[in-house]
């Protein structure tokens, strides 16, 4: 029998009220406005594996992250942690210890008045993980060393560190409670590639040795390729493709995924054209009808404008779940590896 996944997310949705203040609204004669940050997302993450979320800025990745660790309450749908409703699981301290989050914004998540050693030790203390002060100090020192800082750095305050050093402090803090499930929202974006490699190697090592499970969020697709077992591509609050990592890079199926792959920077300076996804980025306050990608999609037709596509196994690569009528109908061009598919990004009008 299959093991219960560490995380199961079912039809998760989150809306925000983004109405203007009452007076302004009345003067302008407009109603309340809601923004659907996440709109019906489902996935699960088996133990010891990594699921990554990628997608346009503002598509709802961090909102999903905050929902799955209980920082936001869902507007709809549910989250199960090892088969238990999240809210029930989080009522138990031991379960809270087991799930931690590395925030996208390390500045905002570190208390500026605390010394780094206290920041890192806080979960250790809260969950009573060590006995004496000496043991705690040793553990903090070890955690700081693991992320490329030194035990002596524990005496300093967050403002005495560079951006990447602060990000490493928040990683050390997240690791300090020995979590089993870690949500990493852009964990290495502030790090140089060499420290990034150290952190990613550390995360991989922890996964291999201790079976950690990760929900990983990054804009850096090379990093995503290195760490993921599966990758979910989000667009305007929805999952448009959910595929094994290798398949996503060798045979991306959803037109948005394909366009995204063409926009990756060209490090090799081959002169490859970098094609931004064409068209206007739509507003989540007023999302397009049917398939939310249709105003920008070269394959869009009338059905796409009317009917929201469901996430289904793709023709030819059934291991990829894809929400696209063209893929379902078999009228999409044959898939090609990332960076070799110049024709899919070419509705270019944005620039």
């Amino acid at each position: 029998m299959a093991e219960t996944p560490v995380l199961e997310v079912e039809d998760l949705a989150k809306t925000f009220d983004v109405s203007r203040p009452w007076l302004q609204r009345v003067l302008a004669g407009e109603g309340r406005r809601t923004l659907r940050a996440v709109d019906g997302v489902s996935f699960d993450i088996p133990k010891g594996t990594t699921l990554s979320l990628v997608g346009e800025s503002g598509c709802g990745k961090s909102t999903v992250a905050r929902l799955v660790v209980g920082l936001y309450r869902p507007s709809r749908g549910r989250v199960l942690f090892e088969g238990v409703e999240l809210e029930r699981a989080r009522a138990v301290a031991e379960q809270r210890r087991r799930m931690q989050m590395i925030f996208q914004d390390p500045y905002a998540s570190l208390n500026p008045r605390w010394r780094v050693k206290d920041i890192v030790a806080e979960p250790i203390r809260a969950f009573g993980l060590v006995k004496g002060a000496a043991e705690q100090q040793e553990m903090v020192g070890r955690l700081l060393t693991q992320v490329g800082l030194s035990p002596a750095d524990g005496e300093k305050f967050p403002h005495e560190f560079s951006g990447g050093q602060r990000q490493r402090i928040s990683i050390a803090r997240a690791l300090s409670s020995n979590p089993d499930f870690l949500v990493c929202d852009e964990p290495t974006s502030a790090l140089d590639v060499s420290v990034q490699a150290q952190i990613l190697n550390l995360m991989k090592d922890l996964q291999q040795r201790l079976g950690l499970t990760y929900l990983f969020i990054s804009h850096n697709l090379s990093v995503v390729r290195q760490v993921s077992d599966r990758i979910g591509v989000m667009y305007l609050g929805r999952l448009v493709e959910l595929s094994p990592a290798e398949t996503l890079f060798t045979a991306p199926r959803h037109p948005y995924t394909r366009a995204l792959m063409e926009a990756i920077p060209d490090l090799d300076m081959t002169g490859r054209q970098r094609i931004p996804v064409g068209g206007e980025v739509p507003s989540p306050i007023d999302p397009p009808s049917g398939c939310p990608f249709h105003p920008r999609c070269p394959l869009a037709n009338d059905r796409c404008k009317a009917e929201r596509p469901a996430l289904l196994p793709a023709r030819g690569t059934p291991e990829s779940l894809t929400a696209c009528h063209a893929v379902e109908e078999g009228r999409d061009p044959p898939p090609r590896p990332a960076g070799m598919d110049q024709r899919m990004g070419t509705t270019a009008t944005a620039l």
Binding site: G148, E186, V193, R225, F249, P265, L267
Partner: protein, 333 residues
């Protein structure tokens, strides 16, 4: 052409209870009009500090303890606060690494843009608002006209970052100091922002110091690149040379750590060990404890920038007088 920005022998110190830390030590470079200088290097190496020194916003107790900074030939490192503040808005635009420090959480993004535009360009409110929406569109904020009245916390991380970029650009400065401007952005918006920045450099002659960890962005945008390590410049040269044929052992390690896009590797290459703390920078070459090529002289004498075939590298392997020379393979990248 005379450089727009000249940084000479810049030294920044932090007096602390445990003694004075030297965060930048002998940093020199120029930026020509319309040129983009990329700046990369170890996290904590002093990239943001260099930017902060240029725009006159070093966080106390940090202070410039030596060297000079010139904009258009005029010294700007010793100006009184008020005078520097005016230069900062009008002539130097800054994009900070941390969007939250730039944005005031209490004001809508529109109000912040309008105020910046009005105070720097002296436009009336209606025109300033029109421009505010224009700049939000330029940086790819969807439905800019609707969202101009949102507060920063109502935006995603990447959207806030784009507002910060719009704030830096809206006063049309000659020099932009951009610290990780595209890190929080997805690749598509990133491409759009990079195109925008490159367009400003090309069409308006705007110069830029671009700090980023993203080598792809560097490769696409920068004309030259400076690589920093432990408060010093380790290597500087044309972008193609530095990225494709790095000469300094640190730069070589750095470039080797870039995760590949076209395949998955078991373990990423990394440079073992970590950068020394500012209070414990080793004598000689700061990279010597981690350097695979280290030899006698490296532990005693601090290397200066030397001609290294295409770039300049602060490494004794490129001194004809050294007992050890760069292996053939390294010299030709």
């Amino acid at each position: 052409m005379a450089p727009l920005l000249e940084v000479r022998d810049l030294r920044v110190e932090f007096p602390t209870r445990r003694g004075t830390l030297t965060a930048l030590d002998g940093v020199s470079f120029d930026i020509a009009p319309g040129e983009v200088l990329g700046m990369v290097g170890e996290s904590g190496a002093g990239k943001s500090m260099t930017g902060a020194a240029i725009i006159g916003l070093l966080e106390p107790p940090g202070r410039i303890a030596g060297g000079e900074i010139r904009l258009n030939g005029k010294r700007i490192d010793n100006l009184p606060y008020e005078q520097m503040r005016r230069i900062r808005g009008r002539e130097i635009g800054a994009i900070f690494q941390d969007p939250l420090t730039t944005l005031n959480p209490l004001y809508t993004v529109g109000r912040q843009l309008v105020e910046t535009i009005q105070s720097n360009l002296g436009l009336d409110a209606a025109e300033a608002r029109r421009r505010a929406v224009h700049w939000l569109e330029q940086v790819g904020i969807p439905a800019a006209a609707q969202r101009v009245d949102s507060y920063p916390h109502e935006f995603s991380g990447g959207m806030r970052q784009r507002v910060v970029i719009a704030l830096a650009l809206c006063a049309e400065p000659k020099l932009i100091v951009a610290d990780e401007p595209t890190t929080a952005l997805d690749v598509s918006i990133q491409a759009q922002v990079i195109t925008l920045l490159k367009g400003l450099a090309r069409d308006k002659g705007t110069s830029m110091m671009l700090v980023t960890h993203d080598m792809g962005v560097i490769a696409e945008t920068a004309d030259r690149v400076a690589v920093m390590y432990a408060g010093r410049i380790a290597e500087i040269g044309p972008v193609r040379e530095v990225v494709k044929h790095p000469k300094h052992p640190y730069t070589r390690g750095l470039m080797a750590s870039i995760p590949p896009l076209d395949r998955r590797v078991e373990k990423l290459a990394q440079i073992d060990g970590s950068m020394p703390r500012l209070s414990a920078i080793p004598p000689g070459c700061a990279f010597n404890p981690r350097c695979p090529e280290v030899f006698g002289r490296c532990r005693v004498e601090r290397p200066v920038l030397l001609e290294a075939g295409g770039t300049r590298a602060a490494c004794w392997l490129y001194d004809p007088a050294s007992e050890k020379r760069a292996p053939e393979a390294m010299r030709h990248g």
